[in-house]
């Protein structure tokens, strides 16, 4: 234990600088968000993740945001355990019929102002599961979506860049 703590003191940190946010992405986010509402929350966002039937690939990359390389919390972004504490709902998966009600109820349990991020191709348009008999498809078929992050799954770098764009405006 002591050895690990000591090494932590003398080794260079692994944490990497913030990813580059390109102007297009920032402009998209600015357009999508209500600036006044966004300002009220300051430089901190509480995120509640909802898996609406993903293959769990997106979850793996979301979890990676907490590792030492990306260290999400240093930006004031943190995952919370309840929708009642959340500003942002981060939704993955092609919204299965079995998850529809849970998704709606989680959205309703989240206080205003709130934003919904559809993360991954499935959440954006159903991805490979579009048209499936057990799926509804895009998240915006069930609750309003503000921001979309493409990828199968999107890399932590890309997720981070989009979330940071929300803080920047």
């Amino acid at each position: 234990m002591r050895r690990h703590l000591f090494e932590g003191l003398i080794r260079k940190p692994l944490t990497e600088p913030a990813p580059w946010i390109d102007d297009d992405a920032a402009a998209d986010v600015a357009k999508a968000l209500d600036r006044a509402a966004r300002k009220r929350l300051g430089r901190s966002l509480a995120i509640r993740q909802i898996d609406a039937g993903s293959c769990n690939g997106c979850e793996l990359e979301i979890v990676a945001l907490n590792n030492a390389f990306y260290d999400l919390e240093r930006y004031g972004l943190r995952f919370v355990a309840s929708p009642r504490h959340a500003d942002v709902l981060l939704v993955t998966g092609p919204v299965t019929k079995n998850m529809r009600e849970a998704l709606e109820r989680t959205y309703l349990a989240t206080p205003d102002p709130k934003w919904v991020v559809a993360l991954g191709d499935c959440a954006i348009d159903g991805g490979l599961f579009a048209g499936g008999q057990a799926c509804i498809g895009a998240v915006d078929g069930v609750i309003p979506v503000d921001i979309r992050i493409r990828g199968c799954p999107p890399t932590p770098q890309k997720i981070l860049a989009s979330l940071l764009a929300m803080l920047e405006i």
Binding site: H4, C55, L128, C135
Partner: protein, 487 residues
């Protein structure tokens, strides 16, 4: 003569099925198979339906022979195997949901994967001072959707009942009619954390059906990806289990190693999770010499950094206090369910498809299969620690012996319908893919069976008598797939 051969002899063989035999049988033989499952001579490896028939994949426990029995159901009914052999119950509920075929005298016919509009009835748990805790489908952490109904007496869990199906996407129905390229992608999305293992099993099943062999270099590259995937998952989960016992330091260190693996995979194969890198006929892209060097460096780094973490785990009395004796799965139950992966191997089940089936290139590689008898959270952690060490050795062997040559073979068009199946050892256990190709080369029916089918029910047993606060720890130590199970 083996028990399996006797069952097959009683039926009509299907010639187009590869590589293991399949036979159409009558209800008597079907029931006799269920009896032998109950008696423990055979292991249930899969049970699935299609529009008018049901199929049962069986493994002879002693000989590791595999075969499929099929039963026509013209009256849309079949005798329940779950009546005699509980591991079949949820699979039969899924067959009823997806194909409308009714398991006769089944002990449980509540909907499973397709949720009905009417309320779901949980099994009653009655007694003095019992209270219920409903958990999910939206959980507190970043995990998949599922519902757990915990009945507790004070702090102690009296019963856990799982309700799954929330991630049911209708994957099998989407696969039907798809061409191989699309179906292979779907297979790789049955369970995202095992995307390599699923694509691997799918490719092997297609190649078995078409009687083609991928080029040797592709065979080795596939195993290389499978071991890299195993490393990434084991490293991430060992840390996450410790985190659920409030030991965040281990989580932080393991998270760093996992990220290193994913970055090396990205550099070597072009995708962090190596998604869609394995395709029927071979692999999508060759591995460059730079990629070989990067993976070799990765192996060296993990071999250097992992042992101190193992010592950190082993020397933390407060951590071991949480993992030792918690969530114990009895070997007899693991045996009955034919539990694979670290869940089975931590409870005395000495089965690993890489060794038992010995598919190439594993027949030419040296590795041990760690087995323990204690069956608690600690045992599952240790099996995974040992498997990390084995995978590091396998990565080294694979990089050293990587043959040169092409990485993809042309697939012939089948002139008539063909059937194939494959069993591949993913990080979680053995993944089964069974499929039938039509004469047009498209998928007629494909069934992917996740190892979780035979692990989820055991979590209900392992948690009994533990405290509610240890449920996340037990659940993480099993780490069953919701998506892989829910299809």
């Amino acid at each position: 003569m083996s028990a399996l051969a006797d069952l097959l002899r009683a039926g009509r063989p299907i010639a187009a099925h590869r590589p293991w035999p399949r036979a159409m049988v009558g209800t008597d033989t079907w029931q006799s198979a269920a009896t032998q499952l109950r008696d423990g001579n055979l292991v249930l490896t899969g049970l699935w339906g299609e529009s008018n028939s049901v199929h049962m994949a069986l493994r002879d426990r002693a000989l590791n022979e595999i075969a499929v029995l099929s039963l026509d159901c013209p009256e849309r009914r079949f005798p329940s195997a779950g009546r005699l052999h509980p591991p079949a119950i949820r699979l039969e509920r899924a067959i009823l949901d997806l194909h409308g075929l009714e398991p006769l005298s089944a002990p449980d016919t509540r909907p499973w994967l397709v949720h009905a509009a009417e309320p779901y009835h949980f099994l009653p748990a009655e007694g003095e001072s019992l209270h219920q805790i409903p958990v999910g489908p939206v959980h507190a952490g970043t995990i998949e959707p599922g519902h757990f109904r915990i009945t507790a007496n004070g702090e102690t869990v009296v019963r856990l009942e799982e309700r799954l199906g929330y991630a049911h996407k209708g994957t099998e129905a989407l696969m039907a009619g798809s061409d191989l390229a699309r179906a292979s992608k779907l297979a790789g999305r049955v369970s995202g954390d095992s995307t390599v293992a699923y694509a691997y099993a799918f490719a092997r099943a297609v190649e078995a059906a078409l009687d083609v062999a991928p080029p040797p270099r592709a065979v080795w590259l596939r195993a290389l990806m499978a071991e890299v995937e195993r490393l990434a998952n084991h490293l991430g989960d060992i840390g996450a289990i410790c985190n659920d016992a409030s030991f965040a330091l281990m989580h932080a260190h393991c998270g760093v190693l996992r990220e290193r693996v994913l970055r090396a995979a990205d550099a070597a194969f072009g995708h962090r999770l190596m998604r869609d890198c394995i395709v029927p006929g071979g692999v999508a892209a060759d591995l460059s010499d730079t990629g070989v060097a990067q993976l070799s460096t990765l192996g060296d780094e993990i071999a250097r950094r992992f042992p101190p973490l193992v010592a950190l785990y082993d020397n933390q009395a407060s951590l071991l206090d949480r993992t030792v004796g918690t969530g114990t799965l009895r070997p007899a139950l693991a045996r009955q369910f034919g539990a694979g992966g670290y869940v089975g191997r931590a409870s005395g089940q000495d089965f690993d498809a890489r060794r038992a089936i010995a598919y190439a290139p594993y027949d030419r590689l040296q590795f041990d299969v760690p087995v323990r008898e204690d069956g608690d959270v600690n045992a599952r952690v240790w099996v995974r620690i040992r498997e990390v060490e084995q995978s590091l050795s396998l990565v080294r062997q694979l990089l050293a012996g990587l043959p040169r040559g092409p990485v993809r073979a042309e697939l012939p068009a089948p002139a008539e319908p063909r059937e194939g199946m494959a069993l591949v050892e993913g990080f979680r256990g053995d993944i089964l893919i069974w499929l039938r190709l039509g004469a047009d080369g498209c998928i007629e029916r494909c069934h992917p069976r996740d190892p979780s089918w035979f692990q989820w029910p055991l979590l209900e047993a392992a948690i009994e008598g533990n405290i509610v606060a240890d449920f996340p720890l037990c659940n993480k130590s099993f780490n069953c797939s919701y998506s892989g199970h829910d299809l």
